[in-house]
């Protein structure tokens, strides 16, 4: 279901040659890895931080950290998944700096299941996106997802917006597979509930 960049699917063997070369200090090889993944990392960073400047910083810091720590990359996971993990951590650090008053942690949620139970059930307009201008829609989606606990939002971004698999998401976020599944379900249901007030069918809708 994903609009994932085709580059993510490049052959791993070719990639492991690049990673090995970069690990041995070949900056040119590393630059090829940057070209391959910078769009994906920029997108993930802006989807988590919801801020363009932060996303630019995250891209720079994540790639630099990856280069500095390539010695620790085991090669058991995909390089991309390892890179996403670094980028997510950098994005969370930015959020903490921006909002130090709120403790920002991937574990901040852990409420009861009740918070995800549908409260309002109403069908939506046939084309809910068309009820608003592009700018309004962007604002609605951004504010709605920002209201989600970070532990849910990050899982939703990686699974549903970036089309990572459950296993890749678990690895990138250092979560168990059941935890990813449970957070994804709750993220989806909570977002649905919050979007409901903007998109529900009104009198006169066809």
């Amino acid at each position: 279901m994903g609009a994932i960049e085709s580059k993510v699917g490049e052959p791993v063997s070719d990639e492991s040659v690049l990673v090995d070369a970069a690990r041995n200090g070949d900056v040119g090889a590393f630059e090829q890895l940057v070209r391959r993944y910078d769009r994906n990392i920029f997108r993930i960073a802006q989807r988590i931080t919801q801020n363009r400047e932060d996303a630019e910083d995250v891209v720079q810091d994540a790639f630099l950290k990856a280069f500095q720590n390539l010695g620790q990359f085991q090669g058991q996971s995909k390089f991309y998944t390892w890179l996403v993990r670094i980028a997510v951590n950098e994005a969370l650090m930015r959020l903490r700096r921006r909002r130090p008053e709120r403790m920002v942690s991937l574990d901040e949620e852990v409420r009861t299941e009740e918070d995800s139970m549908p409260r309002e059930v109403a069908d939506w307009s046939p084309n809910p996106e068309q009820l608003y201008s592009q700018a309004e829609l962007k604002d609605i989606l951004s504010k709605t997802i920002q209201g989600l606990p970070l532990g849910f939002r990050t899982v939703f971004v990686l699974r549903d917006m970036e089309a990572l698999s459950t296993e890749e998401t678990a690895e990138a976020l250092n979560l168990s597979i059941p935890a990813v599944k449970s957070r994804l379900l709750r993220a989806r249901l909570q977002l649905r509930e919050r979007l409901n007030k903007f998109f529900k069918r009104r009198n006169g809708d066809s």
């Binding site: 900056v27 910078d38 920029f42 790639f63 549908p118 939506w124 962007k138 977002l191």
Partner: protein, 83 residues
């Protein structure tokens, strides 16, 4: 199947990662439960709307600028560690 049992399986249903037997049970529930039918549809739309949402652009000049900065810092790091 109750509504809360349905909801528990909703993600896997939408991702098409359930076995055929469970799928049949879920779809049977959807036939008669309008609320779950609506929740299922609107949750699917939620995912689609976010997946297709507009982002800030990543224009080529910004991309080049960031890449130049990254590679510059990598080279700096390399010369420091080699020194």
């Amino acid at each position: 199947m109750t509504c809360s049992e349905f909801l528990k399986e909703l993600s896997e249903y939408l991702d098409d990662t359930i076995d055929q037997r469970t799928r049949v049970e879920l779809e049977d529930h959807l036939h008669w439960c309008h609320n779950c039918y609506v929740v299922c549809n609107t949750t699917k739309r939620t995912i689609e709307i976010y997946r297709d949402s507009q982002l800030f652009e990543f224009p080529e000049d910004l991309r080049n600028r960031l890449r130049t900065a990254i590679i510059g810092k990598c080279k700096q790091h390399k010369s420091k560690t080699e020194a």
